[in-house]
């Protein structure tokens, strides 16, 4: 299938891109890596008049350290995140989750920014970004503002990035020394998560000092499993009790051909237990 015709612009700076978006109005689409947008255009679920491609904007690409944060440009590709030593060191959970996205070909093209703005609840990037308490940097005609991850995901395919705005970077507080794991359940290896669980734990002297748990595909947006986090905090790492049994509390998972809501609640509990056990076993 072939997309409907559109005008194509590939600006070289964020300023130019924002101007192109403002001028184009509501029939304009931003192109990141295209790994979600191109299937949409090919199936003609959307037919924008103008496409603004971010690929030439160098300032949107790359991973750097800024004090106690990692800053990842929105156009940084999955494959560059997976192979980044600083991500492994300070935000291993993100690398573990990104490694589970799709297949190598898609990971060579897809970007962290595109994945976050696309905001598919079955996508694998939202849960680790929530669990790592990242901040999202957004630029628009009115300037730059930063949104905490727990306010970023608004609804199905909807985020705090408004029309005419760009996500420019993801700021992740360094989680150096934390243990983590992303446990994904699928029937076919390169497919979207039926359910997945992102866990990051800080263990001090045998006790879980801090716990962060993110859930994939357990509602219309990625979610934090706060009840599990509270139950894990302060427990000995050698005995987490029944903390993981609380993984589905407050969730509203979808029912579809891959499984109904009850099955997903069951999966959330099982996968959380596996993720916590694997993280602590590291």
């Amino acid at each position: 299938m072939i997309p409907a015709a559109f005008d194509y612009l590939a600006p070289t700076s964020v300023e130019e891109a924002l101007a192109a978006l403002a001028e184009g109005g509501e029939d304009t689409k931003v192109l990141g890596g295209g790994q979600s947008l191109l299937p949409i255009l090919r199936m003609r679920l959307n037919a924008p008049e103008r496409v603004v491609d971010l690929r030439r904007i160098d300032e949107l690409r790359g991973i750097r350290e800024e004090g106690d944060h990692l800053v990842i440009g929105a156009m940084t590709r999955y494959s560059d995140i997976v192979t980044s030593p600083v991500v492994r060191l300070h935000a291993a959970l993100l690398a573990q989750a990104v490694e589970e996205v799709a297949d190598p070909q898609i990971r060579h093209r897809g970007t962290i920014g595109g994945a976050l703005v696309h905001a598919d609840p079955a996508g694998d990037v939202g849960a680790p970004v929530l669990a790592l308490e990242a901040d999202l940097v957004i630029r628009g005609p009115g300037g730059e503002h930063t949104v905490p991850s727990n306010e970023f995901f608004v609804d199905l395919f909807e985020t705090a990035v408004g029309e005419g705005e760009l996500l420019t970077a993801v700021r992740i507080p360094k989680h150096t020394g934390w243990v983590s794991h992303y446990e994904k359940f699928v029937r076919v290896k390169h497919q979207w998560s039926i359910v997945a669980v992102a866990v990051a734990l800080q263990v001090e002297a045998g006790t879980i000092a801090a716990a962060r748990v993110g859930l994939t595909n357990m509602g219309s947006t990625p979610l934090r499993a706060r009840a599990v986090e509270t139950a894990l905090q302060g427990r000995p790492a050698s005995d987490v009790g029944d903390a993981c049994e609380r993984a589905a509390e407050g969730t509203n998972p979808p029912s579809d051909l891959n499984g109904d809501a009850d099955y997903r609640r069951h999966l959330a509990r099982v996968l959380t237990r596996r993720a916590v056990t694997t993280a602590l076993g590291d």
């Binding site: 299938m1 005008d7 194509y8 191109l38 299937p39 491609d53 190598p104 070909q105 390169h190």
Partner: protein, 167 residues
């Protein structure tokens, strides 16, 4: 129309194309590289896999304009002077194809996987090929071919011809 400059299998092409044209259609219909095939409408099958600046991509899920200024290697560009590439030879020797439809994509992805990991285990080969579907072989012989080739290719420079040119 937009003008693109793309190097395909070592030859520079300049063409006026519609921005909506997919890379796979550009390769097949404009450049004539019909060795790269289309197997699905959902970017799941991997039959259309080519290398863009040395890394594998599904060319049905990339716009030709996104390849402007870049270098593409297709299945037609890996044999040297009529000699099959070692990976092609290995697929031939290990009967890693039946109908052959998935083969161009399988071979291009297999090259990508040995580039990133020159000594893959069987499991790593299967993981590296997770985005490529074969309706015929049951994968057994494909995995064998890739393993055999990886072990003979490890020291050979022909494993990565697409890396020789400037990026």
């Amino acid at each position: 129309m937009t003008r693109v400059h793309v190097t395909v299998d070592g030859v520079q092409y300049s063409d006026d194309i519609e921005p909506r044209m997919l890379l796979v259609h550009y390769l097949r219909e404009v450049v004539g590289k019909v060795g790269t095939v289309i197997g699905c409408d959902t970017s799941n099958c991997g039959a259309c896999t080519v290398h863009l600046d040395g890394a594998s991509v599904k060319s049905c899920n990339v716009l030709a304009v996104q390849a402007d200024g870049h270098e593409v290697t297709t299945i037609e560009g890996i044999a040297v002077d009529g000699e099959l590439h070692p990976m092609q030879q290995a697929f031939h020797e290990h009967h890693a194809l039946q109908c052959g439809y998935c083969t161009p994509g399988m071979i291009m992805q297999a090259l990508d996987l040995v580039r990133e990991n020159p000594t893959p285990s069987e499991e790593e080969i299967r993981l590296g090929l997770e985005g490529n579907l074969c309706r015929c072989t049951g994968y057994q012989n494909i995995v064998k071919a890739v393993a055999a080739c990886a072990s003979t290719m490890e020291t050979s420079t022909t494993a990565r011809p697409e890396r020789s040119a400037a990026r």
